[in-house]
């Protein structure tokens, strides 16, 4: 059984004279017990998909279901069995940590005690602050409380819309460890993120840009499909090196990647010595063939699709 199913979902918004397709014919499914990632930048359409699946927004076209319940007809049933953590902090700022949790337990006809085991290892970190108002919590703590509230009625499916945006790397790592443990308890999870490095922590991912899905598969398979040879290049002067690499006639693309530049050439049967000669002014030059990451794949897919990141609305 598929836990989540979307078929040809379209959602457009009208802004003045323009009609913008936020979600443009999107189809995918999430299997039971899967941790599925929706990976893409702001404005890709991720939040609209979340809101359609959690029955908070009606699609213009297409159909969608959660646990085989239709998002339009069966919305009341769906709301009982899903947990949703929206992108924007949406708990009651004037209630304390404990009051928020109790509130969410009560509206789902349950108690904190009944499902405490599910939230225990998250909530213990919050317990010292249980009498603090939610509005006065730190970013990381708010995020943990929001997750606890989304879990307190023991949902079958968890929807997490950009739970780690603006969160520092330490808290991000901790958050993903929590998700792994929830998955082990049998909860299916749909999570969205703009951070490409989090993609590899998902079972399967959909890469999304401008409302369109560019690719769906396991991170492993997506990386394996990367069509070109990829080289990591570094030297003493990285800024000059980038300019030089970009002006090399056989360069297809070159982007900075941390302490190296990632280079794709037009011709895979190419003699590297030609490049080395071209770059002979660089000191301590190092060129190494490497395996691509999800971010390399995403960038090459963006470049290939017509939906360039640079497109301005007409």
């Amino acid at each position: 059984m598929n836990t989540i199913e979307l078929k040809n979902i379209v959602k457009t918004y009208s802004a003045k004279k323009n009609k913008i397709a936020a979600v443009d014919d999107v189809s995918f499914s999430v299997k039971e017990g899967e941790l599925f990632g929706l990976i893409g930048p702001d404005g890709a359409g991720k939040s609209s998909i979340f809101r359609i699946l959690t029955t908070l927004l009606l699609a213009d076209r297409g159909s969608a279901s959660v646990m085989e319940l239709d998002v339009v007809k069966d919305y009341k049933e769906i709301r009982k069995i899903v947990g949703y953590m929206p992108g924007r902090f949406s708990l009651y700022q004037d209630l304390t940590v404990e009051e928020n949790l109790e509130f969410f337990a009560t509206i789902f006809n349950t108690t904190i005690q009944a499902n405490y085991n599910l939230i225990e290892d998250i909530y213990v970190q919050l317990e010292p602050f249980k009498n603090r108002r939610a509005g006065k919590l730190s970013g990381g703590m708010k995020q943990k409380l929001a997750l606890s509230c989304a879990l307190i009625h023991k949902p079958k499916v968890l929807f997490l819309d950009e739970p780690t945006t603006g969160v520092d790397p330490v808290s991000r790592t901790e958050f993903w460890e929590m998700l792994k443990r929830l998955k082990e308890q049998g909860i299916s999870i749909l999570v969205s993120t703009p951070y490409m490095d989090e993609a590899k922590l998902c079972d399967r991912i959909a890469l999304i840009q401008n409302g369109k899905i560019l690719e769906i598969d396991t991170p492993h398979n997506i990386v394996n499909r990367f069509a070109n040879n990829l080289y990591a290049v570094r030297s003493e002067n990285m800024y000059e090196l980038l300019t030089d690499l970009r002006s090399f006639p056989k360069t297809k693309s070159c982007f900075a990647f941390g302490d190296k530049h990632h280079l794709v050439l037009n011709d895979d049967n190419f003699d590297l010595n030609e490049l080395k000669t071209y770059l002979q002014n660089q000191t301590n030059l190092e060129i190494k063939k490497i395996e691509p990451g999800i971010e390399d794949c995403f960038m090459s897919l963006i470049a290939k699709s017509n939906t360039t990141p640079e497109k301005l609305p007409a």
Partner: protein
């Protein structure tokens, strides 16, 4: 990059009651340098940045920004710097051109200068045909690039960037860094915070703040050597894991 110091702090401290948000920060930043200011949520980055841009008075210590004192010359500091953050950058209800004109005026450029520089900027960003569009109608990546250009429109000595690339797609994120490199190359000092650790690698030097204190400050290569780490991500995790407080 050269040896002219444009930011100098000495035991710069900010307390809120008993809470020491920023504790004796001491560092120097040079002209044309790209300086990455890293730290976990709540480490005290925003507090420190507010003191440096002259909108929050330090509790103790000294700081000199572009030649001006953070206690006495805050108005001059504001004129010598540019600032952009992901949260606030441009007015969505004004057009591209109106935003540029507004910020040019605030920073004291005259009408002729604004007119000339505005046209240059629009041409450079390839936005000539979009000058009269509302900023709110632009895609996020474009807004961020325009916001950065506006922040350095008056050729400030220093530009402060608070998580400038959050949420933008990976290609636009690189294009944004191309603009940062160019600004630094032209002698503007770039002071930048980010949660993307690959971006820490693009900085000439970075500092890592933990619980209000600067725990490490050096070039990315030196920091990796010092902490025997493969990446800046590892360095950051090693230091920030020891943090005791949240924000």
């Amino acid at each position: 990059m050269n040896n002219e110091i444009v930011i100098k702090t000495d035991k710069l401290t900010k307390k809120f009651g008993d809470f020491i948000a920023a504790n004796e920060l001491t560092f120097e930043i040079y002209r044309g340098e790209i300086f990455g200011f890293l730290g976990a949520n709540g480490a005290g980055k925003t507090t420190a940045m507010k003191m440096l841009i002259g909108i929050s008075k330090p509790s103790s210590g000294d700081a000199n920004i572009a030649g001006f004192d953070v206690y006495k010359d805050t108005e001059n500091i504001k004129r010598s710097i540019g600032y952009m953050s992901q949260k606030f950058s441009l007015y969505e209800d004004l057009t591209v051109k109106e935003n540029i004109t507004l910020f040019g005026g605030i920073y004291g450029l005259n009408d002729d200068e604004i007119e000339t520089k505005c046209n240059e900027l629009l041409e450079k960003l390839n936005l000539q045909n979009d000058a009269n569009k509302l900023v709110g109608s632009l895609p996020l990546g474009w807004k961020q690039k325009l916001a950065f250009s506006t922040a350095i429109f008056h050729t400030p000595k220093i530009v402060f960037l608070d998580e400038p690339t959050g949420g933008v797609d990976p290609i636009t994120r690189r294009q944004f860094w191309d603009m940062i490199y160019e600004a630094a190359h032209n002698g503007i000092t770039v002071f930048v915070t980010t949660h993307y650790m690959d971006e820490a690698e693009y900085c000439d030097r970075v500092s890592i703040m933990v619980d209000g204190v600067i725990k490490a400050l050096d070039s990315p290569a030196e920091l990796k050597k010092q902490f025997n780490a493969k990446s800046m991500d590892d360095v950051f995790l090693m230091l920030a894991r020891s943090a005791k407080r949240g924000d």
